[in-house]
Amino acid sequence: MNTNTKRKKRVDQLVRGLFMAATLLSASFIIVIVIFIIIKGITPFITDNDGLGAVNIWKFITGTVWLKGTAFQSNLYGVGYIILNTLYVAFLALLLSLPIGVLTALFIAKIAPKKLAEFLRTIVELLASIPSIVYGLFGSGVILTFVYNLADLFGVQSKGGNSVLATVLVLALMTLPTITAVSEVAIRSVRKDIEEGSLALGATRTQTNFKVVLASAKSGIFAAAILGIGRSLGEATAVSLVAGNAQSGPNFGIFDITSTLTSTMLKGLKETTGIDYDIRFSVGIILMVVILLTNFILNAVKKRVGNVNVK
């Protein structure tokens, strides 16, 4: 072996070590964060909280009132209704944004003229990069008024528009660009020969788009839905501006105020201490579990749905 090859080998090893270190660093951050949240989050359940007594886990998970009694003097926290609320608004938002997002994606990928498609794609990317606080401000400035007047039209007196509906609308708006972008990629990557086969058999463009293209892309579209749900479940700022932060529940009426795990964590976070602060980390653990479970279940469903399976 000459010295040149040796040197090259050494450089190779060095670079590999460098990459390894970077990977370890980023991976360890995740572990540190998770450990930190778990340690903070289980504190209320295992310590006596300065004489208040440990929080009962079962009552915490099934509770229908956020806090019974006076703050800092009570350990009767409950998030059961908030878990239901969170899932409820996230799935309602998906129900609204998925059809619109997929149809938009279909239009951009298959129907629109090239120039228009380019333009629309840029707009969708722009929308996806708008920070959530901006959606929240739009929500509290425009959507709340809209929902308030809409409720009035139906003869319902809503609480200033703060409601399930307002939350769902804001979340649907926020997840729409993600869903559109991901489904568009899925639709574009459908193999040309499947599409042409359908057309050659005499199917119209519309029949082909709906029955062949969408059906072939359904795995990718499902992935878009999973991403959308993830964003809905984890969104805090925008939601807390329009949800009304209900103290008890569950709240299923579309004009009722609601609260989500994230909005509950955020409420008063900057000003509180002690158990009232630590318990927000417990809510964080619940949120992580909810997101993990949801993703797990949806991914299992996605596998069963399968990929190309044109009927």
């Binding site: 009132v65 956020w66 806090l67 019974k68 009694g69 006076t70 703050a71 800092f72 003097q73 509290s140 400035g141 709340l144 008024t145 809209f146 308030y148 007047n149 809409l150 009035d152 039209l153 007196q157 609480k159 200033g160 528009g161 703060n162 501006l241 009304g244 932060n245 209900a246 103290q247 009722d256 105020i257 409420k267 008063g268 000003e271 509180t272 009232d276």
Partner: protein, 310 residues
């Protein structure tokens, strides 16, 4: 199928248009329920408001409030009142503007003048307390603490207090007018630490004041550790005055209790924290009493009729 879709589309668009148009021409309907808006339990404004209307128990307890109340922040409540004709909320006086109606409290208009002349009742005092004279770790610390309190009463101090949303007391002198009386401020105090503590509601104001005052007084180091009003007196002249958490200057966002009477001249007020109950501009209500507000927030008054017919 197509016809049904078209019908649906037509109905929704009409609905949307109508919803956007609003219905302000119908006027105020007193038979509607009152929607109660509040800050969350960790808010100092909430503590001040509930204390001011004689409903102290509700300051940190959500279960005592009327059913279905909305929890929001200062701005959230303010913007809600521009939409919700049947809502009621409270904000700090500094945030009040003409997009909502600020209610008179016991017949007195919520203005800065009425707060300063002590006729407007929905407010709480921001007080300070010093250590007893001679009971400091160094004469320099004592001199700086006294200079700081003098600074609070100047127009420079008042500007900072107003900036932070509280109402300063009347002042005429600027710091430049009186700084000759405080020789310590001409020296280099960068090695001296002044410890502030007490009410956490006053923390932001105290930090802004010390940040502004330090360069004017030899760059002393300010340490803030705000843990609650009762620690204000306790850690300057009370049971913890010689402990690890001892402070040079303490604050309380309420009047000092009889048990907290300190040495003459060591306690005083720096500002008022004024809170105002607000409703929608179309609301017929103009004035409320503490009793009314308590009945609204406890849910005893469910509709506006209940209140207006009294």
């Amino acid at each position: 199928m197509k016809k049904v879709l078209l019908m649906l589309l037509a109905i929704t668009s009409v609905g949307l248009l109508a919803a956007c148009g609003g219905n302000s021409e119908e006027g105020f309907d007193a038979t509607k329920s009152i929607t109660v808006y509040t800050r969350d339990t960790s808010s100092g404004t909430r503590a001040g408001f509930m204390g001011g209307i004689g409903f102290d128990d509700a300051a940190e307890n959500d279960n005592l409030l009327a059913d279905g109340f909305v929890t929001s922040d200062n701005t959230g409540i303010l913007t809600a009142m521009t939409t919700d004709e049947y809502g009621i909320g409270y904000i700090s006086l500094a945030s009040l503007n003409n997009t909502v109606k600020g209610l008179n409290f016991d017949g007195v208009e919520p203005t800065v003048q009425n707060v300063v002349n002590n006729t407007y009742g929905l407010k709480r005092p921001f007080n300070y307390v010093l250590r007893a004279p001679g009971d400091y770790d160094s004469p320099e610390a004592e001199a700086i603490s006294n200079a700081f309190v003098a600074f609070l009463q100047t127009t420079d101090g008042a500007d900072i207090i107003m900036d932070q949303g509280a109402v300063a007391l009347e002042s005429t002198d600027t710091w430049d007018d009186i700084k000759a009386d405080y020789e310590i401020c001409a020296e280099d105090n960068s090695g001296i630490v002044i410890r502030f503590g007490g009410s956490d509601s006053i923390q932001k104001i105290a930090e802004a004041l010390s940040a502004a005052f330090s360069p004017k007084c030899g760059d002393f180091v300010a340490e803030h550790d705000h843990t609650g009003s009762s620690d204000g007196f306790k850690r300057t002249q009370g049971s913890e005055k010689d402990g690890d958490n001892a402070k040079h200057i303490g604050f309380a966002s309420r009047p000092f209790k009889d048990s907290e009477a300190g040495v003459d001249g060591t306690q005083g007020q720096l500002a008022w924290d004024a809170i105002v109950a607000i409703v929608h501009l179309d609301n017929e209500l103009d004035s409320v009493s503490a009793e009314d507000l308590k009945k609204i927030y406890s849910g005893e008054y469910a509709t506006w009729e209940d209140l207006l017919s009294e």
